[in-house]
Amino acid sequence: MAMTVVEKILSKATGQSSVKVNDVVEPVVNVAMSHENGALVINQFLEVYEGTGLKPEVWDPSKIVIIFDHRVPAETSKTATNQKKIRDFVAKQGIKKFHDIRGDEGGICHQILPEYGYVRPGYVVVGTDSHTTSHGALGAFSFGIGATEMASVWALGTVLNVEVPPTIKVEVKGKLPPFVTPKDLVLYLIGKVSAKGANYRVIEYHGETIRNMSTSGRLVICNMAVEAGATSGIVPGDEETIRYLKEEAGVKEDIEIISPDANAVYEQVIEIDVSNLVPQIACPHTVDNVKPVGDVEGVKLQQIVIGSCTNGRLDDLEGAAKILKGHKVARGTRMLIFPASWKIYREALKKGILGDLVDSGAAIINPGCGCCLGVHQGALGDGEVALATTNRNFKGRMGNPKGEVYLCSPEVAAASAITGVITDPRKGGR
């Protein structure tokens, strides 16, 4: 029977010759990722073992990854105490893939997973974070789960009662025009299908545009698949996946590629030609409230943010720095930059990118989730408006329900930093 890429992955993970949509399966997990909410996973995990007489030991410490990123360094004693609890647990259970608050190996979970080669094509990856969809960029079936569900994974090594999801095929053709990026593509897609349009479904990306896209760009379009409700986004592994894992993540072993069958059955096929795509903006307060930049040009901004698991990679910082070079951030607007990992921070430092950004007036913040979800730094004041390369603009998202958040690409963010209002980066050019 012809299968989509996720059907193939789930067949493999359940030891079956095939699976089909709506089958209930229990796939074996290859990577189980958590961040600070690991503290809650630990509570639930210990509760599972209560009264069983069994020793609470995780099923396989080599498959668990824990990364501190949401509140680093701790903003309160409560967070610090939770982080301490996780450190103790990690040491006790022998979990080696632990990324503490460190300049040599820290960063945002969705950057660390690819950066360290923890994810491979064909893997089943679960994470206690909704943006775990990101890792579909490497050809894995990767999805977000809650803390209690993760406790169950830690105990059993499988995810219980997963229904095989239907797949939407998104076929993308054409070359992205100058100053138009994978972020604009995914915002356009979310605007088209709506915030619930892909609920309980997988988005499988295909087409020449995707084949020519770097892993960095694929991470963007898979990261935000969840904003259309998707269980996961996925780019079936290819030459670029192998290149990234070998050259950038330093993977030594052979990498097996899993591709969908040519005659696989898709619930829906969406075709997009990006040749004439323009920069896209998601307007407050839903991610599917997407408009071409021209419709919102001139909106006055108090805060501009470049960073997060969506757009805090080297190419993002590079793109922004090119536009900003020789210019200043407008007075009355503050610009915050959160690289997605310390490795990216270091590379951007070496290339002089961070220096250029600082010269322009941007403030560089340590890698982490930062102000994206309003838990750490960069909260908005009452009535303030932000433009961010992050992934969500829900009411209250940036720490204040009386603030507004617009979402965009790093190029739009940089061009807008110079003017202090939403600006089309194609006007004026470099």
């Binding site: 503290a39 073992y49 209560e50 309980y200 309003g374 838990v375």
Partner: protein, 165 residues
């Protein structure tokens, strides 16, 4: 019979149910105080125990979209609310089943704050308006977790079976 105590539109995110700035609080015993924290009036009523357990919150499509934070479920479970929505986002629905928050998928739900609602096995009946709407049953795979008393109990059962082998 229960009263509708709160009505919400489509696409209510977990940031609205449980704002990110309270995420350092994780324990189900502590999260209920921050339920809908930015809706100060409703939040005060919840905190002051003016909302009886079993009260109904009705919402549009895609309730619980966004972050996977389980606090958004435990905060509502702590007040023993029932959520009747036209549809739910995936992770939120799964978390609710895992923790035992009562969720009802009812695409035709209509009602206003103050309406009397009865939830039967296959229908939501609005006694005030007289309108009744069909419930979409939860997938059978999910029902097994509910029947076991939540995911912790279900996993415990599976763990014991695994160790017997």
């Amino acid at each position: 019979m229960s009263k509708v105590v709160f009505k919400l539109e489509d696409d209510i995110s977990t940031d609205v149910i449980y704002p990110g700035r309270f995420m350092a609080t994780v324990l189900p015993t502590e999260t209920p105080q921050f339920a809908f924290a930015d809706y100060t009036e409703f939040n005060s009523k919840l905190k002051n125990k003016e909302i009886p357990p079993g009260s109904v919150l009705i919402a549009g499509n895609n309730f619980g979209c966004g972050s996977s934070r389980e606090q958004a479920t435990s905060t509502l479970k702590g007040h023993e609310l029932t959520v009747v929505a036209k549809s739910f986002a995936r992770i939120f629905l799964q978390n609710s089943i895992n923790l035992g928050l009562k969720t009802v998928i009812c695409p035709g739900i209509e009602g206003e704050v103050g309406d009397e609602i009865e939830v039967t096995h296959d229908k939501v009946i609005n006694k005030t308006s007289g309108k009744s709407s069909d419930i979409i049953p939860l997938p059978s795979a999910r029902q097994a977790i509910i029947d076991a008393g939540g995911l912790i109990a279900y996993t415990r059962k599976r763990l014991i079976e695994k160790h017997k082998k």
